[in-house]
Amino acid sequence: MRKPASAFAVHAILGLYTLLAIFPIVLVIMNSFKAKRAIFNTPLRPPLPETFDPIGYSRVFGDSSLPFYYLNSITVTVGTIFLTLLTGAMAAWALSEYKFRWNTLLALYLSIGIMVPIRLGSVAIIQLVAEMNLINTLTALVLVYTAQNLPLAVFILSEFIAQIPRDLREAARCDGLSEYNIFLHIILPLIRPAMATVAVFTMIPVWNDLWFPLLLAPTGGKQTITLGVQQFLGQYITDWNAVLAALSTAIVPVLVLYVIFSRQLIRGLTSGAVK
């Protein structure tokens, strides 16, 4: 990077690619605030006072159940994160702290779930969920997503637990703390950063998934926002204001979360958490 010419070339390539990456997103959000005529006549201009028109948004939030779908998505995502972190941290603690005969075998058993996509078991998952009378419930989604995210969570968390100095636990044991209390009061607070990483990794794919909501909770007001937007788009396909507004309402919350958590996420990725 000593020569200014090559520095310019590097910035030109990265800048152009960045434009390519954000252009569609900016375009959709920008046009969602415009009147129909302006969407078609001047698609590349930002909304101006004379072209501003929030009609799309009033249609999205007026005629449809999208606000409820948001709530469903939040419930499913938060529920999954909670259950994954709780059961995952407990298992990670047991696997890294207690050396028993089936230890390695269990770790191998869990690693199947990292390599093989759980989607391939969908036929049996539907039959199972139907037998449990959980079709069109958010519970079914939380259970399946937790099973899907558990293996990676256990691996990230147990790697982290293994780094906690042994003396700390031994000291607690000498003080007469039970194993349950050691986990609850010493281990859990210490692994909080790793839990944040797991939460971010779990959150995005669960929020964005289309497959399991389509299979397990396609109707009955239990749709997640991703599926809800998909169905909404299908119905309003010719209403460009509504379509652009629906797309924007799906994009913006994720972007806000991404901006808040991007450091955590990139740090998680760059610390080799997905390897």
């Binding site: 990077m1 569609p24 207690y98 460009w240 994720v254």
Partner: protein, 305 residues
């Protein structure tokens, strides 16, 4: 610690995770494979059929034609990712990891952004952009005097699959970029300094010093791409529906599986054949992972710093 207490501890801590994981992940996988060995009767019962379903899938023309078509399309889908997504990801990572680069974090965050969004949103946004109705894509080509190149790419059989693949590449290029970028950052500066002292320029140093060191990561990125591509569904479904039009030109294993299992305008749902296709996908993915483990990973020398 007494044996009983120890056992109780293990059950308490491991139990919930193992039960959830076994019931909702491992059991369904095994049951699906088992399902593929039975045939679904009209009255809803299941009859043992051995490998009959696989024979039907591979040799009965009504099944084998869509199957080979989907498999071929899936390979094209995968090849485009390997030829475009991963090289572009590598290039972006190489540029991002250059020393003393300004705006590094900004570029990284913005380029990674599409990866965060739902495939449904991405698919629809691109559908609008490429639509002749809105004409954004056409307008762009016209600015460069290339207006004659414009066609409804998503609607034509010859170009639909490539277009959908490139949209997927556009969305997921952030993953190889970040993984390779991380591997590049882990290379100690002394190595590059030594190479520079020996007279290599930045470009040569990248090719002769850094690239050989990140082969393990490139292997990992390739196997991740393979697994994700042969498991893909959302984008095709969001853009082209379950029928993966035009005329099944964008049909891949995931959409074929969905259609077979759930049924559609053309056929009734069939859980047995659905399971058979899922088992085939499982085998394909397994072969991919095996190739990675035995061929790639064994040959790779691991460097420790």
């Amino acid at each position: 610690m007494p044996q009983g207490t120890y056992l109780r501890l293990l059950v308490f801590f491991l139990g919930p995770a193992l039960v959830l994981y076994s019931v909702f992940s491992i059991y369904p996988l095994l049951a699906t494979i088992l399902n593929s060995l039975y045939s679904h009767q009209k009255d809803g019962s299941f009859l043992w059929n051995g490998l009959g379903n696989f024979h039907t899938l591979l040799f009965d023309p009504t099944w084998s034609e869509p199957f080979w078509n989907a498999l071929k399309n899936n390979f094209v889908f995968f090849l485009i990712h390997m030829l475009v997504q991963n090289p572009v990801g590598l290039m972006l990572a190489a540029l991002l990891s250059l020393p003393r680069l300004r705006f590094r974090a900004t570029y990284r965050t913005l380029i990674f952004m599409p990866t965060m969004l739902s495939v449904v949103v991405i698919g629809f946004a691109w559908q609008l952009i490429l639509s002749p109705l809105w004409g954004i894509a056409k307008m762009f080509l016209q600015t460069f005097g290339l207006g004659f190149l414009f066609a409804p790419w998503l609607g034509e059989e010859s170009s639909a699959l490539i277009t959908v693949s490139l949209i997927s590449v556009w969305q997921f290029v952030g993953i190889p970029m970040i993984l390779i970028y991380t591997a590049l950052l882990a290379i100690p500066d002394e190595l590059i300094d030594a190479a520079t002292v020996d007279g290599l320029n930045q470009f040569q140093a990248f090719f002769w010093v850094k690239l050989p060191l990140i082969w393990p990561t490139i292997g990992l990125v390739s196997v991740l791409t393979f697994v994700n591509n042969f498991n893909a569904f959302d984008l095709i479904y969001a853009m082209k529906g379950a029928l993966a039009g035009p005329n099944f030109a964008t049909d891949i294993m995931g959409t074929l599986f969905y259609r077979t299992f759930f049924g559609n305008q053309l056929q009734l749902g069939d859980p047995s054949m659905g399971s058979t296709i899922a088992t085939m996908m499982f085998l394909i993915i397994l072969i991919g992972i095996m190739v990675y483990l035995f061929l790639v990973q064994r040959r790779i020398q691991r460097y420790s710093f």
